[in-house]
Amino acid sequence: MALLTEADIEALGLTLRLAATVTLLLLLLGLPLAWWLAHTRSPWRRPIAAVVALPLVLPPTVLGFYLLMLLGPDGVVGRALAALGLAALPFTFKGLVVASMLYSLPFVVQPLHNAFDAVGNRPLEVAATLRAGPLDRFFSVALPLAWPGVVTAAVLGFAHTVGEFGVVLMIGGNIPGQTRVLSMRIYDHVQAGEYHQANVLSLCLLAVSFAALLAMSLLRTRRSARD
């Protein structure tokens, strides 16, 4: 018996592709958001921080359910998309990306927010007196100093997306090559009594998680040992 069937490998590839896409997009979204949260004096800071943290405490199925309602053909977003001539999101890879981003948002934003808080205002004030403008200060001071936080955010976002199940079940379904990710595949195997296959895939997930954490620790120390 082959260690992994073709369908298993497809699910593994899909999962990695999903996690990589989501991590990248979340970093692009999370960096400005975390920066804003760390530096704004706006009264909206707390409500928005709470909304960002919501997926931490919300059951994934609840999140998935509301997303399905929102993105479905009768939902507000679904109708808006249809009016723009765009395809519906539920049960597609894109839909899965959107749902996973929401689900993993706090795992990316919170480490970034903490890292920017830890950098503090002083290095930015110093940079300003040395003629660095706001964008310059972000890229040449804040981001390098917050680097360990960026690595943590990326690894947590990636690992968390790889392991999601409830949200996928609600909004993604189980379409081979489209939305059938590793955790769905493991569930299928268990349902079918194929415990050996489930075990092999679970080990794959375990290995991915372990590798991610190892990479995180290596990246953090290598950076701080530089120059």
Binding site: R122, E125, A128, T129, R131, L145
Partner: protein, 366 residues
């Protein structure tokens, strides 16, 4: 060294108001376009906050700030030039180097953004502050004094039109403090741009500053030339300990046996402990009001090495009811003596009388 630039014929002028916690600030000051201005006052007077407001780092202040011909802030016209466009060099109280860069990387941060101006003598500054052996080092491997010297060079290399130093020595002790103070003293003579120096230490101020702004509880209580201001009789009690004369003279002789130097100044000659001055060099010296003893006649058989003839200008109540402050004219230099009211009456002196000021040489060692 740094060259003067067009438009700096006037110095910094500011009229600002803001609140910080329980302290209400109301600042109105005009600084000369050259030399060192000390922002001086007791701890908690709001000196750092004031400097931050002038630099534009503290953005809550409302009012007007201009530097030379350039308006930096005019709240009525919604004008606010952010700090990175003000051409200021700022040294913070605690060393604030970038930990993700080497010493050289720190120095280059502002230098590169200023466009590596050719009129800046980068190598000269690095040598003057003794930073050359540190260039390739990591910042967290430096001592406190080394960090502050690097921060100083970093600020100078950003080609500032105005230098702002926020108690740069306060986190240092002993030798590191003395070293950096000496560097700053030597910078004073050659620096072409004005400097604002925040301090609560009157000895630092006496050695470095030309102009003095006295700050108490968020308000400017006095400003003017250093010598005149410190010898005023009407300063608030909180500044009592700072009162005294600052004299400027030239070292005329060195007694190697007794380890003393002799300072010639318009009011006469003073012996003081030798540090490592050389004969011929200019020297500033502070004579605290507490360290002056008044006599009617020159004394023999006294341990005080210095006796200066002087004339009494005025007398005023000191902060303690048992004491008075006597203002003296020694050859054109104003000295202050803090003596008891009882002694004042016993001496039978009055404004216009001739007297002698005795100054212990040991009180003049910094």
């Amino acid at each position: 060294m740094t060259e003067p630039h067009a438009g700096t014929s006037h110095g910094l002028a500011a009229k600002l108001a803001w609140r910080r916690g329980a302290l209400a600030f109301d600042i109105d000051l005009t600084l000369p376009p050259k030399g060192v201005t000390a922002l001086f006052g007791p701890s908690g007077a709001g000196k750092s906050s004031c400097l931050r407001a002038l630099a534009g780092i503290e953005r809550d202040a409302i009012g007007r700030v201009s530097f030379g011909q350039t308006a930096w802030q005019d709240s009525a016209h919604r004008l606010f030039v952010p700090p990175h466009r003000r051409r200021i060099g700022y040294v913070f109280q605690e060393p604030s180097l970038f930990t993700h860069r080497s010493v050289a990387g720190n120095l280059d941060f502002g230098y590169r953004r200023a466009g590596r101006p050719s009129h800046l003598d980068r190598d000269g500054l690095i040598d003057r502050f003794g930073v050359r052996p540190l260039l390739q080092r990591r910042v967290d491997a430096l001592s406190g004094g080394e960090r502050q010297r690097v921060a100083m060079v970093r600020a100078l290399l950003s080609d500032p039109a105005l230098l702002m130093l926020d108690e740069p020595l306060s986190a240092l002790d002993g030798a590191a403090r003395a070293d950096l103070l000496e560097c700053l003293e030597s910078l004073h003579g050659t620096l072409q741009v004005p400097m604002i120096y925040v301090s609560h230490n009157v000895d630092e101020v006496a050695r470095l500053a030309d102009h003095l702004v006295l700050l108490e509880a968020g308000h400017v209580v006095a400003q003017g030339a250093l010598q005149d201001t410190l010898a005023r009789l009407d300063l608030p009690p909180a500044l009592g300990e700072a009162l005294g004369a600052v004299i400027e003279g030239r070292v005329v002789s060195y007694d190697a046996h007794d380890q003393l130097i002799e300072l010639d100044f318009p009011g006469g000659r003073l012996w003081l402990p030798y540090r490592h001055e050389s004969v011929g060099q200019g020297l500033r010296c502070r004579i605290g009001a507490r360290d002056v003893v008044l006599t009617r006649l020159p004394q023999t058989g006294t341990s005080a090495l210095n006796q200066l003839p002087c004339r009494i200008i005025a007398v005023a109540d000191a902060d303690h009811p048992a004491q008075v402050l006597v203002q003296l004219d020694a050859g054109g230099c104003v000295l202050l003596a803090r003596i008891t009211r009882r002694s004042w009456h016993a001496l039978g002196l009055a404004p216009g009388s001739e007297a002698w000021a005795q100054v212990k040489a040991v009180a003049l060692g910094v």
